[in-house]
Symmetry: C2
Subunit: 197 residues, 2 copies
C-alpha cells in the first residue's frame, strides 16, 4: 500500500532551516560525512554517506514515487533546475501557476486547489510507490488533513535558535504520536513515527 | 569530576512546555507509563516508570547534588512547597530575593548576580555531585557562558506547536554538538549530548 510520508533533516530545536535560510551545512552534514558515494538525479551532485545512512537513504528513495512541495521551496531552489535530486515527479502546491517556468517538459505539475488535491495527484503519479510531502507548511497541511502515514525526522545535533519549523502553521494541536522507530547513525538520529489513520 | 547538566522532557518540536503552560500530560506521560514505583522527596508523589526509564532516572537523581533554577519556574511551582522532588538544595537565580518565602529553613538559596555565580554556589552545595541546570532561560545562559558539560534531552512523541523552548534566548548560535548517546525507552527517547569544554 502506497504511503504518504514527510521527512526532513531537523535541528534539535525543531527547525528545518535556520534564521534567514541558514544552517544547512549543519542540517545536511550527514550527506557528506561518510565514504559511500550516493548519486542523485543531478549528475554534478553526489553525496558521501556512512554505510548506515546510505542504506536508509537508498530505501527511502527507492520507495518514493512522487513528491509534493510548496511554492516557497520551489522558488528557493529554482525548481531544482527542472530535475529534483530524487528524479521523481514533483507536484507543486501554489496559489498561482508560474508563467515563466523555463522547464515546461520537466515532470513538474502545478496544483492550485489544496493539499488533498496535490497529494491525490502525487499518488497518481507515484504509480503505487510512496508520496513524499515536503516538511514545513505542506507537512502541516497534510497532517491537519489526516493525509500522513509516516513522519521521518532526521534529527541532527545542532541548535539553530529559529527558522522554519518542521511543521509550520499546524491548526490541530497538540499532535500526540506513538513512539518512533529509532536508528542511530553518524551525524543524524533517524526517528520514524507511524501515524494512526 | 562534578558535571553541570541540563535535562528536561521536550516535545518533538523543541518545547519544554506548550502554549500557556500546557502539554505537561504529554511531556511527562513517561513518568507514569510503567509499573516500577519511583518515589520522590515529596511523600504524596510517586512516579510509575518502565524498568528502563526507572533505571535512567535513578542514575540521574543519584548523581545530582544540587539544582539551579530561574525565578519563573520557582514561582510557577510555588517553590515546590519548600521540597524539590529530587530532595536536593536549589539555587534560584533571580533579580530580587523574595521577602515572603514561607519556607525560610528549606534548602533554597537565592542568587542575584548571574549564572556563573548561581552555578558556582550550586557546585559548592552539591559537594562533589553533579549540578542540574533547569532548561529554558537558565540552560541558555549556562550554555552561552560555557558552563554546561552535558545536555540530556528526554524527547517525547508530541508536537506542541509553541511554548517555552529547551534553550530560550541563546546568544551564541548555532550551537553545534557531537552525536548524542541514545537510549530508546517507552514514551521517551533519551538523547545525551556531551559538550566539549
Amino acid at each position: 500500500m502506497s504511503k504518504v510520508i514527510t521527512t526532513a533533516s531537523m535541528s534539535l530545536d525543531g527547525f528545518i532551516s535556520g534564521p534567514d535560510e541558514s544552517g544547512f551545512e549543519h542540517l545536511f552534514a550527514w550527506y557528506g560525512n561518510g565514504d559511500v558515494p550516493v548519486p542523485t538525479a543531478q549528475p554534478e551532485r553526489t553525496f558521501r554517506m556512512t554505510p548506515e545512512n546510505a542504506r536508509l537513504w537508498a530505501g527511502l528513495t527507492a520507495a518514493t514515487g512522487a513528491l509534493v512541495t510548496g511554492r516557497r521551496l520551489f522558488d528557493i531552489t529554482g525548481g531544482w533546475g527542472g530535475t529534483h535530486p530524487l528524479g521523481v515527479p514533483v507536484v507543486v502546491l501554489t496559489h498561482t501557476v508560474p508563467d515563466d517556468w523555463p522547464h515546461p517538459d520537466a515532470p513538474f505539475t502545478f496544483v492550485t486547489d489544496g493539499i488533498e488535491s496535490a497529494v491525490a495527484e502525487a499518488r497518481r503519479l507515484a504509480d503505487g510507490k510512496d508520496v513524499g510531502v515536503a516538511a514545513g507548511t505542506m507537512a502541516a497541511q497534510a497532517l491537519d488533513a489526516g493525509l500522513l502515514d509516516e513522519i521521518w525526522v532526521m534529527l541532527t545535533p545542532v541548535v539553530l535558535g529559529g527558522g522554519t519549523p518542521f511543521f509550520e502553521g499546524l491548526r490541530q494541536l497538540p499532535v500526540v504520536l506513538d513512539d518512533p522507530e529509532v536508528t542511530v547513525a553518524a551525524g543524524v538520529t533517524h526517528l520514524r513515527y507511524t501515524l494512526r489513520r
